[in-house]
């Protein structure tokens, strides 16, 4: 079981992702609606895994990823992307993201990726 922080401006996405993760026995310890809030909550909650949407207002997911990795080099951040954001995915790898989740969400994909990250 992992302690997870979800950062996504879409409540619909957070709700769907929460349902899948909790069904698998993981604990959602926090939610944030933009990168800025996500970084603050990361410092406060120190989750095992952070799921981070890329396109968000105020501060996007890539900026927040950079800040989290600067703060904690061992942070496990899984980026959440709509299918088309390939160049941003390349940037995310460069900045230290450990994996990607593609929208729209698919339960088996999420569980597979989470287990891979937890076992790495």
């Amino acid at each position: 079981m992992a302690k997870i922080l979800m950062v996504d401006d879409s409540k619909t996405s957070r709700k769907i992702l929460r349902g899948i993760l909790e069904e698998e026995g993981h604990e959602i310890i926090g939610e944030a609606v933009n990168g800025k809030e996500g970084f603050e909550k990361y410092k406060e909650l120190r989750p095992d895994i952070t799921t981070m949407d890329i396109t968000m207002p105020v501060m996007d997911g890539l900026e927040a990823l950079k800040k989290i990795i600067e703060f904690d080099n061992n942070a496990k951040v899984i980026m959440v992307t709509a299918a088309g954001q390939k160049t941003k995915m390349v940037d995310a790898i460069k900045y230290g993201a450990v994996e990607f989740l593609a929208k729209p969400f698919e339960a088996s994909q999420i569980i597979g990726i989470l287990n891979k990250v937890l076992n790495s």
Partner: protein, 295 residues
């Protein structure tokens, strides 16, 4: 698909009653129409394989049969066999109408000629509607030759059919420079090309997108319902951006937004495609390389 278009025409022109159309459409609902369901029933695919293909369809703009062949699950001959099993929607519609003694074959033929004339449809358009093939139906209502706009609209429609409602009815698209709305959810994409993509309605009609996408009931177009529509647009645009990136055209998606009771204004064209979902109208709005202002 054919039943939705022609059936609706028959009701609107008092050729049949709504109750009779409901009875006809029930016949369709009681039979498997999805290729995956038929493939599983025919034991050509396992449920897991069909689910895999369905999930892949969410991430790529490809037909079920084409993915099945590419994954090595089915041979081209098997896909052809399944498509034959799936049947021609026109024949199925005619069969249901005559089985219930609602109209005779001759009456259907007369009505079809009237439908064709009233809607300014060619024989080719009617053939496309009869086939039920969405890729052939879309060009009847949208000029798909317009660079980017046609593709973008086509992909959005296919995603509505996949994720939201497979029984939508399209109306002829038109272009405008001003568009007033009650509710609008939209997203802009910037980069090599600039896109504005939105769904708008006069009132609560956007709930027909919000509810199936979030798998949740909403009573009003509140923030949560708008969020669901915005997220649907985000996913659809993601697929389109992905498709463009394969052509070396790179665009970035900005966060989606919603607004109420305002007007869109553009110096260029805003393409409007009216879509009936559960009988209520939602407009798909697309503008390419034309800045759109909200007033």
């Amino acid at each position: 698909m054919f039943g939705q278009y022609f059936g609706r025409y028959l009701v609107e022109n008092n050729k049949i009653s709504q109750a009779e159309l409901d009875k006809i459409m029930m016949d369709f609902e009681n039979k498997p129409v999805k290729l995956g369901d038929i493939a599983v029933a025919e034991k050509l695919l396992t449920t897991k394989q069909a689910d895999d293909i369905n999930e892949l369809q969410k991430k790529m703009d490809m037909r079920f049969g084409d993915i099945a062949i590419e994954k090595g699950y089915l041979l081209a001959e098997e896909v052809t066999y399944l498509l034959n099993m799936q049947g021609n929607p026109y024949i199925k519609f005619v069969q249901a109408v005559t089985d219930h003694n609602i109209l005779t074959l001759e009456q259907i033929e007369v009505c079809l000629e009237e439908y064709k004339a009233d809607n300014d449809l060619s024989d080719c358009d009617i053939d496309a509607l009869k086939s039920g093939d969405i890729d052939r139906i879309i060009p009847i209502f949208v000029d798909t030759d317009i660079p980017y706009t046609g593709d973008c609209i086509g992909l959005a429609i296919r995603n509505i059919i996949r994720f939201i409602n497979s029984s939508i009815v399209l109306k002829k698209s038109y272009k405008t420079k001003e568009y007033s709305f009650g509710n609008l959810a939209f997203q802009q994409m910037v980069g090599d090309q600039q896109f504005f993509v939105g769904f708008a309605a006069k009132g609560k009609e956007l709930l027909h997108i919000a509810e199936p996408f979030a798998k949740e009931n909403f009573t009003e177009m509140d923030e949560d319902a708008f969020d669901s529509v915005c997220e649907f647009i985000n996913c659809t645009n993601g697929l389109y951006a992905s498709k463009l990136s394969m052509e070396d055209i790179h665009i970035d998606m900005t966060p989606p937004f919603f607004v109420i009771n305002q007007k869109l204004i553009s110096d260029g064209d805003i393409y409007v495609l009216p879509i009936l979902i559960n009988g209520e109208q939602v407009d798909l709005l697309v503008a390419v390389n034309n800045p759109v202002r909200i007033n």
